[in-house]
């Protein structure tokens, strides 16, 4: 998995960088805060490691930027890429939202008529209807899970989910290995702790 190893390295580098920035800014942090920071750094690092190739990464970064605190962090992490991302995200998201909204309205208006038709021969169509609703529900859930998923149609959603799963895996592995290493080092050197 060449791509995953590359991704791993990129992610690790950026994460470390982000953590450094984080820690340099504040010294005394609550566990909660720290955890949040760590997670944030990890997420941003992961997203930036993608170099804006996937929409979920763009969405993730744009979400992170919304909070004023994180902007500095994000910008530092991203480096020269950030302006590109900024330019991309705003029109993308607005256009997507508009599209989504109009689509939803259309769908609602159509589905009512369709539902009336569908209830005609109940047996044959009920099953189809049930199946479709099941799939719809699940796609909705997936949309909520994948960052930036609301403004995606089914096909791209699956594609993004694919990518997102891959990168999440990388993230988890890196974090786990780090945690493991930290644990080992702590066990060996308990004085560091506390």
């Amino acid at each position: 998995m060449h791509t995953s190893s590359k991704l791993t390295k990129e992610f690790t580098k950026k994460w470390v960088k982000g953590l450094q920035i984080c820690c340099s800014s504040k010294k005394n942090m609550d566990v909660l805060e720290r955890k949040k920071k760590i997670k944030l750094c990890a997420d941003i690092a992961l997203a930036s490691a993608k170099n804006a190739t996937t929409s979920w990464s763009i969405a993730l970064i744009s979400e992170a930027k919304k909070e004023g605190e994180n902007e500095i962090l994000v910008d530092n992490l991203l480096g020269p890429e950030s302006p590109f991302k900024q330019q991309k995200t705003i029109p993308l998201m607005s256009a997507c939202h508009k599209r989504v909204r109009s689509k939803k309205i259309l769908k609602r208006s159509c589905s009512v008529g369709q539902r009336m038709k569908k209830m005609g021969p109940p047996k044959s169509n009920l099953a189809i209807y049930i199946a479709k609703t099941l799939v719809k529900k699940r796609t909705q859930v997936l949309q909520r899970l994948v960052p930036g998923g609301e403004s995606m149609d089914e096909f791209s959603l699956i594609k993004e989910a694919l990518d997102y799963i891959l990168s999440l895996r990388v993230q988890v592995d890196v974090m786990r290995s780090l945690a493991h290493a930290a644990e080992v080092s702590n066990q060996s050197d308990p004085n560091v702790f506390g």
């Binding site: 791993t8 690790t12 470390v16 953590l19 450094q20 984080c22 820690c23 566990v31 909660l32 720290r34 955890k35 949040k36 760590i38 997670k39 990890a42 997420d43 047996k123 044959s124 169509n125 099953a127 189809i128 049930i130 199946a131 479709k132 099941l134 799939v135 699940r138 859930v141 997936l142 899970l145 994948v146 089914e154 096909f155 699956i158 594609k159 989910a161 694919l162 997102y164 799963i165 891959l166 999440l168 895996r169 990388v170 993230q171 988890v172 592995d173 890196v174 974090m175 786990r176 290995s177 780090l178 945690a179 290493a181 930290a182 644990e183 080092s185 702590n186 560091v192 702790f193 506390g194």
Partner: protein, 500 residues
């Protein structure tokens, strides 16, 4: 012998269909109706009723011999012919029967039998090819020129032969065929049969779900061909047109559908192979549009055929086949570009789903979009939770020393990562379903609560939570009990993030 046999077969068939089809129909109809749960009986009904297309198809192909032999007494020759065909095609059916409903063994049947037929035909240079579509690798044997009648012919022969075989075996075959088909359907993602176990309308539901699922037209045609639209005539017609429409041997898939009618049991395997063929093909997206157009043509023709059917058959048809036809007719009636685009889209989606199957652990057995999506959702959720968990762990383990963390990163993690890189996939996946058996005691309480909350929601995760609970009981709590409520709060927020 074989040559003669083959020459003989079209003629008595023609004469059969042309002259005393009805008597045969009645004969044939009796036995299938007696068989229980034989949806093939419907096939028979319809196939028998479809005398006209058969006739037309056959007559168009085998013109002169028919006329000369029209006076042949039907029953005797028919029996002879039947026996010959039974002998030949019975080998398919027999091997199919023996292998029962195991897909792997049944793979042999289409592979073994059709080549024989192919070779026999090819050797004698009779312009009556059996479609090399049976198994995909045999396609190169198929002559590119379109030969319409014989596949339908062969199908019919097969049906008759299979029918002529022990009727006691028939329901067995049929049922196992069903089973194999269902199983193979479930296995082949492309055919995308929803395997939602809603009780009641078993077959019907699955077929209806088939319709609801994104399916390429050919995979639909195959179940239609199975279930039965034993409209062999239509099969032959559509196949004829398919062959005309497909010059380059992309007719692999289409011809598949014809041969799929040959044996009930091999149908499942053929579907699978066809879906494999499709997968291999769908990789080539350049051909995709052409394929789609061809499929579109085929669909249109198919729908026309369906519409041309007598209303009796439509009435006779039970729900399941009608659902296929129902949906497809709708699509056929819609504009071509729409259905084309739809099909392209669906193919793409199924491609992606295939990738996701490889990614998400434990999805190989699962087919059906909803279930796949379910698994994906579970997996994404679990990964996200893992990230949260690990970040919390890192936060607690290194309360002040982020510098240490970096040092660790630089030294240990790289070394360990080199080791773990090889096992990257392994740890990620077991974690998904197994116990996270590390002594992270302060965090286990969190996970306990988290897993308790979540276990009811996601069945896939339920196992993991059960494991965690078991593990938790055995884990010694360290000095983080003071921060219990904090962790509660943390997990609360964390849960709120990922809740459905």
């Amino acid at each position: 012998m074989e040559k003669d046999g083959f020459f003989n077969t079209p003629q008595p068939w023609n004469s059969l269909f042309g002259m005393e089809l009805e008597s045969q129909v009645n004969e044939m109809n009796c036995s299938p109706e007696q068989l229980p749960n034989c949806f093939l009986s419907r096939n028979w009904d319809h196939s028998m009723d479809q005398s006209d297309p058969f006739e037309s198809a056959l007559s168009s192909i085998v013109s002169s011999p028919v006329n000369s032999h029209s006076g042949v007494p039907i029953p005797a020759s028919e029996n002879v012919v039947l026996k010959e065909l039974i002998g030949r095609l019975g080998s398919i059916c027999n091997s199919g029967e023996i292998s029962n409903s195991t897909n792997t063994s049944c793979y042999n049947t289409p592979m073994n039998s059709p080549p024989k037929l192919n070779l026999s035909i090819m050797d004698h240079q009779i312009p009556v090819p059996i479609p090399g579509s049976l198994p995909i690798p045999r396609n190169h044997q198929l002559p590119p020129a379109p030969f319409p009648a014989d596949p339908g012919f062969v199908e019919r022969a097969a049906r008759f032969s299979s029918f002529g075989m022990n009727e006691s075996e028939f329901p067995h075959m049929v049922e196992s065929g069903k089973v194999s088909r269902r199983v193979s359907n479930k296995q082949c993602f492309k055919t995308t049969e929803l395997s939602i176990p809603i009780p009641g309308s078993d077959k019907k539901f699955s077929r209806e779900l088939d319709n609801s699922m994104e399916e390429s037209s050919l995979s639909e045609q195959i179940p239609i061909g199975e279930t039965g639209n034993g409209y062999k005539g239509q099969n032959s017609n559509s196949n004829g047109r398919k062959r005309k429409a497909i010059p380059k041997g992309k007719g692999k898939e289409t011809q598949f559908s014809t041969v799929s009618a040959i044996d009930n049991k091999t149908i499942g395997e053929l579907e699978k192979e066809e879906s494999d063929a499709k997968r291999s093909k769908s990789g080539e997206e350049g051909n995709g549009m052409e394929k789609e157009k061809e499929k579109e043509k085929i669909k249109e023709e198919w729908n026309r055929n369906q519409n041309q059917k007598q209303t009796k058959e439509a009435a006779k048809l039970p729900e399941p086949p009608k659902d296929y036809i129902h949906v497809r007719a709708r699509r056929g009636q819609a504009t071509d570009s729409h259905s084309l685009a739809e099909r392209v889209r669906r193919e793409k989606i199924s491609e992606r789903m295939k990738f996701l199957q490889d990614l998400v652990p434990g999805c190989n057995k699962v087919t059906g979009k909803a279930i796949m999506l379910d698994e994906i959702i579970n997996y994404v959720q679990s990964l996200q939770r893992q990230v949260e968990f690990l970040s919390m762990k890192l936060a607690t383990i290194n309360p002040r020393t982020d510098m240490n963390m970096e040092a660790l990163l630089s030294k240990d993690t790289r070394a360990s990562m080199l080791n773990t890189m090889n096992h990257l996939d392994a740890p990620a996946q077991p974690f998904y379903g197994l116990v996270h058996a590390r002594p992270e005691n302060p965090l286990t309480s969190m996970m306990h609560h988290g897993s308790n909350m979540k276990s009811s929601q996601t069945h896939g995760f339920g196992e993991a939570s059960a494991f965690w609970e078991n593990d938790l009981q055995s884990v010694v709590q360290m000095g983080f009990q003071n921060q219990g409520p904090i962790f509660h709060g943390i997990m609360g927020t964390g849960q709120m993030k990922v809740e459905l």
